[in-house]
Amino acid sequence: MITATGLTKRYGSTAAVDGLTFEVKPGIVTGFLGPNGAGKTTSMRLILGLDKATEGTVTVNGQSYRDKRVPMQEIGALIDPSAVHGGRSAYHHLLWQAQAGGLPRGRVDEVLDMVGLTDVAGKKVGGFSLGMHQRLGIASALLGDPPVLLFDEPVNGLDPEGIQWVRTLVRRFAAEGRTVFISSHMMSEMEQTADHVLVIGRGHLVADVSMSEFMQRSAHSHVRIVSLRAHDLTPFLEAKGALVTNGTPNELTVTGLDAAAIGAIAFEQGIPLNELSTQRASLEAAFMELTYDTVEFRADRGPTPDVAFA
């Protein structure tokens, strides 16, 4: 269990994280979502004792990280997989960590096998691909076989097989009763992996709910229509109380009416449809809508969306 109470970190006059209060529970996968610069990495650094909080506290299993006697056996972290010395072999990189944590040498071979890096154990880490770096980082986190796992962007750079592997691993850990805390930008992947979400924006906690509630609450499912006579259909739909938005010239997005009702209206009016599909809410849409105001760095994406698109 990871518990934060009023956690605040200020650099000068700006607060990177401000008054964060949350609990990351065991037995489920908790996703940590937020735009770039929102404070996800700062939060994780505070949990691991790398930075000192300006105000508030954060504990792992009731104890602050720097007070722990054998932290590696309590919490395993993947923070920055490329933070390695390129001239060292993968084996030695894991060995020094195992030794620092008072773990037996055999553990190094075990975790290398778990992540599939046994064949390259003797190779210098500088020659590793991004995916191999990620796997080495996951191996480091697993060395102490800890009941709490903290992963910062674990699927970054992995191929589809690797992504599925991480998802299976992480869900299994949660099923074993471990606490799993993952931060990620890959919404489609998070949707399949996390049971609970913490959403952070500009240092503040914006949401702390189950995944299903988050997606229901924020994004609306809608119906997408493609038709050569789409503009003809619009007044009929609006007459029935639907909200219609135009996309590309032949495209409509409709909320307020389901696909069956829209199909019936189109049939009545003799307007042929090329596509009629229900777009369910997606995590990405929910996330974008919720954090739109809090994004620090944003490329110009055109006018403000007033309906979230899947």
């Binding site: 790398l50 000192k52 920055d80 010395h85 020094w96 030794q99 076989d145």
Partner: protein, 279 residues
């Protein structure tokens, strides 16, 4: 590359025994010995020091008959063998600095303090490991430089010294120990404070080596009241490099005290800053 999803990830019996200083030492030694650059620096320090001393001895032998009285008076069968020492010192400084700065530049320092958040323990373990390697280097280079020069001096008819001479034995023992400690631990402290290799190495070279060169250039009162208490000058007093009647000379006990205070002070400052700053 195969990935194993079948291997069971049960909860291994967590011993919960605190790793302790021995584990930290083992970990830091693994870090140091497992990169090739460590051994390149060690080999160069030894090879260049001894090689250059031999060369210096050879040049002395070839030219000594044309020396004037001043230069002849400066010749010392013990101290003149240390001609290659600058290489050894600079490379040892590089070792003392990079053991710290390579972790900051690669951002691996975070991994280090995640594995062991007890910062003083990590600090002490790193200091111990790099100091021991530094002493190992100087224990090989200093007697090495001495022994390689003596036969060359003898061949050309210069005054020689033997390892069994009291003066020589005393010098070799103290120098082997002290140079290794001095040129690793002081740069080590600067490295934690400055965090960057280039600045720490430059600063360390300036601090550890320049004072000897600058001494003749500063006013007498500065030599007597400031430079005399610089640890590098005090070290030179201990070795007899600084003459007993020189302005910067310090007796044995005060010299040892000066060196001890400087080294503990700098290391303490580095440790305090490490504990307070974010990694």
């Amino acid at each position: 590359m195969t990935m194993s999803t079948a291997s069971p990830i049960g909860m291994t019996s967590n011993t919960n025994a605190e790793p302790g200083f021995g584990a930290a030492l083992q970990s830091e030694w693994t870090k140091l010995r497992s990169i090739r650059s460590t051994w390149i620096v060690v080999s160069l320090a030894i090879g260049l020091s001894i090689g250059f001393s031999a060369l210096f001895a050879l040049v002395s032998g070839l030219t000594h008959e044309s020396w004037n009285d001043d230069i002849r008076a400066q010749f010392d069968p013990i101290l003149t063998t240390m001609g290659g020492m600058l290489f050894g010192f600079i490379l040892t400084i590089v070792l003392g600095v990079t053991v710290v700065t390579s972790e900051y530049s690669s951002r691996m320092m975070r991994t280090t303090f995640i594995a062991n958040p007890h910062r003083n323990q990590v600090f002490a373990a790193k200091a111990t490991v790099v100091a021991m390697l530094g002493v190992a280097i100087s224990v090989i280079t200093i007697p090495g430089m001495f022994l390689v020069s003596q036969p060359i001096f003898g061949y050309y008819g210069l005054e020689t010294a033997s390892v069994t001479d009291n003066d020589a034995t005393r010098f070799l023992l103290i120098a082997s120990l002290l140079q290794g400690l001095f040129y690793t631990l002081i740069p080590f402290a600067f490295a934690w404070l400055l965090r960057g290799a280039a600045s720490a190495i430059t600063f360390s070279i300036g601090f550890c080596i320049l004072p000897w060169m600058l001494t003749p250039l500063v006013p007498i009162w500065v030599q007597e009241n400031v430079f005399r208490y610089h640890p590098d000058i005090a070290k030179d007093s201990l070795f007899g490099v600084v003459e007993a009647d020189a302005t910067t000379h310090l007796a044995q006990a005060p010299a040892i005290l000066v060196i001890a205070i400087w080294m503990t002070g700098l290391l303490a400052a580095a440790a305090i800053v490490l504990n307070r700053r974010d990694v």
